[in-house]
Amino acid sequence: METVKSIGIDAGSTTLKIVGVNEEGKILFTIVEDADPKVEEQTESILNKLKENYDIESSKIVATGYGSNLIKADKKITEITCHAKGIYEHFKSGGTAVDIGGQDNKVILISKGGKVIDFIMNDKCASGTGRFLENTAWRLKIPTEKMAELALNSDGEVKISSTCAVFAESEVISHLSRGEKLEHVIKGLHRAMVKRITSMIYAIGFNPPLMLSGGVAKNKAVVKMLEEELGEKPLIPENPQIMGAFGAALLGLSK
């Protein structure tokens, strides 16, 4: 049985991510599940199952994310520090990290040495977060993944002027009722979300490269549009969603 030195738990507003690393910081396992309202029980049952294949008796546990208060851990560290750490260690580069999750977005400036220099984050507002797209997805009964595909392959675009999730949703509905093509409207919706993120990036001062984390980084339309807006190809880890949990696990290794 392999010994897990440290476990990072990112209890986000939307999903629960768990990453285990060995002494060298090499990832041994990753788990991503939809977040249960009782995240403490969900975590415990996952950890119990892990015991069948890994030695986690003496693992350090570092929790981050929205639900971290509920989780038993050796350390609690904010998502900002954890995502920055995960991204920095993954790419071995400073620059601008953008984490777009279900409910929050963060733009983090990372120094060459891996320190957080500055950051900004949305407040009580779904603008520019996963929820912005999900709202409309639920309303139209189209999965978010499918929406991204529609936007990516659309040959036209309808301007959605609002970056507010509630107003944007009603704008979408009114465009559709006026007979605009679904994919054109969906593409416009993605653009509105990306514009919001871009303005946050400029507000803090863009320092390339742009490195993405969080579930929304799996949305290819968002990635492509970010490239269009910033004129810079974003770097994306194979699994961007686990970067926070990975960073948390790594922070468990340091004293």
């Binding site: 560290i77 904010t78 900002i80 520090t81 929050d104 320190k115 957080v116 950051f119 949305n122 407040d123």
Partner: protein, 367 residues
């Protein structure tokens, strides 16, 4: 932790009434406490109050007004100010000036309404202007109370406030040596907003007795803004092993006035207010404010600045990006958080403050 029993506003009001004192409900920010005390009037400041239901007030106000004025009006409409004999509205900003007009033109309260026009820059003309303004208020109070405190009485009250200002400065200086949480520290400091002079002095002196030589080994933060509300923010700072080392807050440090030099009581009161620390409601320059914040950092050894921005507080907005840049140039990190004194702080705000302190700690580790 100290166990200090601080009377509540209600208790102070009841006692003052029983002693035959008149009560003045005073809105933010600057006013001469000593002038009111000389008339045997107990000033009770109205900073909100926080967590007020502002429904009734909202009908009379534009939706983009700050929560301090929203609650301030709601509090009146709810009858919260009924106990007062006098209402004082300093013209600190457009919103408070607007509130003054609402009182004067629409509400026409049964209480005596006093407005104070406050000058902006620090200069001789403004001391003269404010000195005249205070004489006008003296006359209004004299007519209302049928009492005319003489020069000696005025000077006596001024001296008492000057003494308290020195004591408050000492309280700040001892911050690191006091076994108080940030919330406790500010609860004590802010009791000045409604306590009689002697009582407040006793409380400060008692707290200072507990000052020890051991310093708090925590990350110091300077907070800047109007008032440290919601107080949960202070708890978050403490929870992260931080503490508020000094402040640039309208309700606290910005009203620790220096000693006046004039022998004329009105001039002396005016000098104290006009020469106070840099203040956005006085249109202080960005450089003055940045230098002041830097000096607070230097004195206290704090590591960064948290700007509390009461949402829609128009005087503060303009400065933040510029102050952030200026502080950055000197290697000082800062963060702006938006607050509403009537709403609980958001999870995102908590995360941002925590991440800010993590960033400062990391910084110190590398330094």
């Amino acid at each position: 932790m100290l166990h200090i029993k601080i009377p509540t506003r209600r208790e102070v009001i009841e006692k003052a009434k029983a002693e035959g004192k008149k009560i003045a409900a005073v809105y933010p920010i600057h006013y001469p406490r000593e002038l009111f005390r000389a008339f045997n009037i107990q000033p009770i400041e109205v900073w909100g109050p926080p967590k007020t239901d502002t429904k009734k007030a909202n009908a009379h106000l534009q939706s983009y007004i700050c929560s301090v004025v929203q609650s301030g009006l709601a509090f009146y409409l709810e009858g919260g100010i009924n106990v007062a004999d006098i209402i004082v509205v300093p013209h600190s900003c457009d919103s408070l000036q607007g509130l003054g007009s609402i009182y004067k033109d629409f509400i026409k309260p049964k209480q005596e309404l006093i407005t104070i026009y406050l000058p902006r820059e620090k200069n001789r003309e403004n001391v003269e202007f404010l000195s005249k303004e205070l004489k006008r208020i003296y006359k209004q109070l004299a007519e209302f109370t049928h009492f005319e405190p003489d020069r000696e009485k005025l000077l006596e009250e001024i001296k008492k406030e000057e003494e308290i200002d020195v004591l408050v400065a000492k309280f700040y200086k001892s911050r690191e040596n006091l076994p108080l949480s940030s919330r406790e520290f500010y609860t004590i400091l802010r009791a000045r907003e409604y306590l009689p002079v002697e009582l407040f002095k006793n409380i400060l002196n008692y707290a200072l007795l507990h000052s020890s030589s051991g310093k708090l080994k925590k990350t110091g933060i300077v907070i800047s803004g109007l008032l440290p509300e919601p107080m949960e923010i202070l708890d978050v700072i403490d929870e992260m092993d931080g503490f508020v080392a000094l402040d640039d807050m309208a309700c606290c440090m910005r009203r620790v006035y220096g000693e006046g030099s004039a022998d004329d009581p009105f001039e002396r009161m005016a000098e104290r207010i006009v020469n106070s620390t840099p203040d956005p409601t006085k249109g202080s320059s960005v450089d003055e404010r940045a230098d002041f914040l830097k000096s607070l950092i230097d004195i206290s050894g704090a590591k960064g600045v948290v700007f509390y921005n009461v949402k829609f507080c128009e005087p503060e907005y303009f400065y933040h990006p510029l102050l952030k840049d200026k502080l950055n140039e000197s290697g000082i990190k800062s963060i702006v958080i938006e607050t509403d004194i009537n709403e609980p702080i958001s999870q995102q705000t908590i995360t941002r403050i925590k991440a800010f302190i993590e960033m400062l700690k990391e910084e110190s580790r590398w330094a």
